[in-house]
């Protein structure tokens, strides 16, 4: 069984206009193993997976799955063959029930609505979940949606399940359950391809790891033969001694007081942010961290709140007010809230500072200035794009995130709120983003950092607030406090 390869990919190439996404890629996946794939943003991981699942066609090369050569394939063919994929973005129809999502397009095979729900309920139970199959997907939490995706993959009796960054929106608890399920799958002889930027997970879960860089496979080895440092070096092509930069220490005088912030979800949230400080917010999914960030930025309706910036009461009713006061915000959902996907890199970078690029009574946008500013950020943040006119929809996740950050850097914000800034972003780019954060605070700005990755918050923040159920439950100095202490408060 050990020697049997369920999937053999050899010399696959794929080019998009302007980028060579896959360059002679070869990978072999054994039956019943968890095969990790790591690599920087834009390394080509998702592209490879989309070729396997039939979304894209390969330009050349061969793919042999389960002894069968795959030439042309559609997503449905792949599913029928036994390749399921859980995409980076959720792929469920929000307006339909769980059961129907699982058996989408196979209503007849399931002999109607009743059969569908019966089978779905069984599948869900098998993976140890208790979701009602009649629930509409839009009423599910992130983790539950993931469960539904997995159930859907299982429903095809898949031999290979591809998970493209499944953990990027899960909390630790949910992650544990996911791991259990993956192990369950593997024990049944199903192979799993697991893509993640969280190296800990990869080490914990994967038997074999393939490292990709710039569309090429750099190495493919059993996980046990790899060290973390080695892996990182291969991924980014250089050694990174520390995953986190040295904690910036330039905390100054109080800058912003938030007092009595109440919304539908938040109860009397009060805190202070100092100059040059990185303030971390930790909490479980749904604790209300995003809500705090959005309220502060004026993006949501606030019942009552008092914001005092540098001793002066300010009123923030809409994002525009916040921006006027030098607050920037990187939202967690970059596709829906962060970027205008069909627009160019340049347009996306210049949105927030557009006013400053205008001149004259009629506010003509200076195109040279706009070009300058986008060039500057592209170089500064090393955004991988063929030109400033490329449409951002074609960029990889990490590069997309950098564009959003670049947008705010152009504004020289006093306070930058980062909501999950490194979700789905590779180690190299993460480090760059950390360095950026450091630079911002060193230049006198302040940062509010929201992240579901505890190490990240604890290693970067000067101070940490724990949020639970819309309330601030504690305040810690991460250098002093122990992880358990903090976790206690996070749980409420």
């Amino acid at each position: 069984m050990d020697n049997k390869y369920i999937l053999t990919v050899s010399n696959v190439n794929k080019a998009f206009p302007g980028v060579k996404a896959l360059d002679d890629v070869s990978i072999q996946v054994k039956q019943g193993e968890v095969h990790g794939i790591v690599g920087e943003n834009g390394a080509g991981k998702s592209t490879l997976m989309k070729i396997l699942s039939g979304v894209y066609a390969k330009d050349s090369g061969t793919i042999i799955f389960d002894g069968e050569s795959i030439e042309k394939s559609t997503p449905f063919d792949s599913l029928r063959r036994g390749i399921s994929i859980i995409y980076q973005e959720f792929n469920l129809v929000e307006t339909m029930s769980v059961g129907e999502n699982i058996f989408m397009g196979r209503f007849k095979e399931m002999s109607g609505m009743r059969g569908t729900h019966k089978r779905a309920a069984k599948l869900i139970e098998d993976i140890g979940s208790r979701i009602n199959s009649h629930t509409l997907v839009k009423n599910l939490s992130t983790a539950e949606k993931q469960m539904v995706e997995i159930a859907k993959a299982l429903s095809f009796n898949s031999k290979l399940i591809i998970m493209d960054e499944p953990s990027s929106s899960l909390t630790n608890d949910d992650l544990k359950q996911l791991f259990q399920i993956v192990k369950l799958l593997v024990s049944q002889g199903i192979s799993v391809i697991y893509i993640s930027h969280k190296l800990d997970e990869v080490f914990e879960l994967c038997d074999t790891v393939t490292i990709m860089c710039d569309g090429r496979v750099i190495d493919s080895k059993p996980a046990s033969e790899l060290t973390r440092a080695e892996m990182i070096m291969k991924m980014v092509g250089r050694a990174i001694e520390n995953e986190f930069p040295e904690r910036p220490r330039c905390v100054g005088a109080p800058l912003l007081h938030v007092a009595g912030l109440n919304t539908r979800k938040l109860h009397d949230v009060s805190f202070t942010l100092n100059k040059g400080e990185i303030l971390g917010l930790v909490g479980l999914v749904g604790a209300g961290r995003t809500e705090i960030a959005r309220s502060l930025f004026g993006a949501d309706k606030v019942r009552s709140a008092e914001f005092v910036l540098e001793g002066e009461r300010i009123s923030i009713k809409k994002p525009h007010d916040a921006i006027q006061h030098g607050i920037g915000f990187v939202p967690e959902d970059r596709k829906q809230q962060g970027l205008i996907l069909p627009f160019s890199v340049e347009t996306n970078i210049s949105i927030a500072c557009l006013k400053n690029l205008c001149r004259g009574l009629f506010r003509f946008v200076s195109q040279s200035k706009e070009r300058e500013c986008s060039k500057r950020e592209i170089e500064n943040l090393r955004i991988k794009t063929s030109s400033a006119d490329t449409r951002v929809v074609t960029l990889s996740g990490g590069n997309q995130q950098k564009i959003i950050i670049g947008r705010w850097l152009e504004m020289h914000p006093m306070i930058l709120i980062l909501d999950e800034p490194t979700r789905g972003i590779d180690i190299g780019a993460k480090y760059e983003i950390y360095m950026l954060m450091k630079k911002i605070v060193e230049a006198g700005g302040s940062i509010i950092l929201i992240s579901s990755e505890f190490p990240e918050v604890l290693n970067l923040s000067n101070r940490v607030l724990t949020i639970c159920d819309g309330k601030v439950t504690g305040e810690f100095d991460p250098e002093v406090a122990s992880g358990n202490e903090i976790m206690d408060k996070v749980m409420g």
Binding site: Q336, I351, A352, V365
Partner: protein, 335 residues
């Protein structure tokens, strides 16, 4: 040898692609030229100054309306209230000439245009409607409301400028007079076109409309005044529609309370044929002008060619579908 062959074939492909790309890209211009040439061959009079003047004069009303609509569409909406606004403002203009004088009447209807646009915008903003679909039927309802108002005001009667003691020179000046062979309406239109093109392509406000049309959430989170932008787009649309109505009244010197019907369809077709995407976020003011030209020239040519009214509908539909198809091909090639 094989290498050379390969290069040659690649070049061939590229040339062919280029040619096809060019054709698709300039389909509208090609269509227009074709139309002009065919008509000129069959009916040489079509190139006479008289015909050109008459086309240019006819151009005024639909052109202004389509121009305004372009902005609503860029911002991600479709304004279906156009017929109602035209109906009401045309009737209102003539009604007001006696009590207010021509300048007064003109000013009031222009203000009405802004107000009608603002009402559309406010209804959409206040209801939180962010999608095209939500705006579509609200503006359709408003069209009914304004049409009914026009009916109530006129009691169904066609209003005549001549009933206003012949003091209608300002309106006829705008709608019928010409400098050389160029009608005033055309001169005004070109000026407005240039201004609005600048507004759309070069200014902050124009960019805001594109951004809002692209993604409202992102625009809002980036500090763009989304509401204000939507409002201004609809106000531009309302104002332009009323200017169109004034040009129409000036040209034909009458205003019936149903005069506006069909203007919405023609305007939407002209805008889309001109290369502005209904999805929002992308617009082409000059394209709209060409689109209107296509719609008008089509009617003119077919009248000259002696195509019956009935067949004209068929031809209109077919040519417009062709133009839309070509535009669609173009964008899908760019993807």
């Amino acid at each position: 040898m094989t290498v050379v062959k390969h290069i040659v074939s690649m070049n061939d492909g590229r040339l062919e692609r280029k040619a096809r790309y060019f054709l698709l890209n300039h389909m509208l211009v090609v269509l227009l030229l074709l139309l002009v040439i065919v008509t000129a061959v069959v009916e040489p009079n079509s190139l006479s100054i008289g015909n050109i003047t008459s086309i240019l004069r006819r151009f005024g009303a639909p052109a202004f309306i389509a121009l305004g609509l372009t902005f609503a569409i860029i911002t991600g909406f479709i304004d279906l209230s156009i017929p109602g606004i035209v109906n009401f403002s045309a009737v209102l203009a003539i009604y007001l000439i006696n009590p207010l004088g021509q300048v007064g009447a003109l000013v009031v209807v222009l203000i009405f245009g802004l107000a009608a646009g603002m009402i559309n915008g406010l209804l959409i903003i206040k209801s939180g409607g962010t999608t095209q679909a939500e705006g579509l039927f609200i503006t359709f309802g408003m069209s009914q409301v304004w049409s009914a108002a026009a009916m109530l005001l006129s009691q169904g009667k066609t209003q005549q400028l001549r009933w206003c003691d012949r003091s209608y020179s300002l309106f006829t000046f705008l709608g019928s007079y010409k400098i050389g062979f160029v009608p005033i309406a055309m001169v005004v239109f070109v000026m407005v076109l240039i201004l609005l093109n600048l507004l759309q392509k070069r200014t902050f406000a124009g960019r805001c409309m594109c951004l809002v049309g692209g993604n409202k959430t992102v625009a809002r989170l980036s500090g763009i005044h989304v509401d204000r932008t939507i409002l201004s787009a609809f106000m531009i649309c309302g104002l332009m529609t009323v200017i169109g109505a004034v040009m129409l009244v000036g040209r034909v010197t009458t205003a019936s309370p149903t005069v506006g019907s069909g203007f919405d369809t023609n305007a939407i077709l002209a805008v889309v044929v001109g290369g502005t995407s209904l999805a929002g976020g992308k617009g082409n003011v000059f394209g709209t002008m060409l689109g209107v030209f296509l719609v008008i020239l089509l009617a003119n040519s077919m009248n000259l060619l002696g195509v019956s009214t009935h067949m004209q509908n068929v031809m209109n539909g077919a040519v417009l579908l062709l133009a839309i198809w070509a535009d669609g091909r173009k964008t899908s090639q760019l993807k």
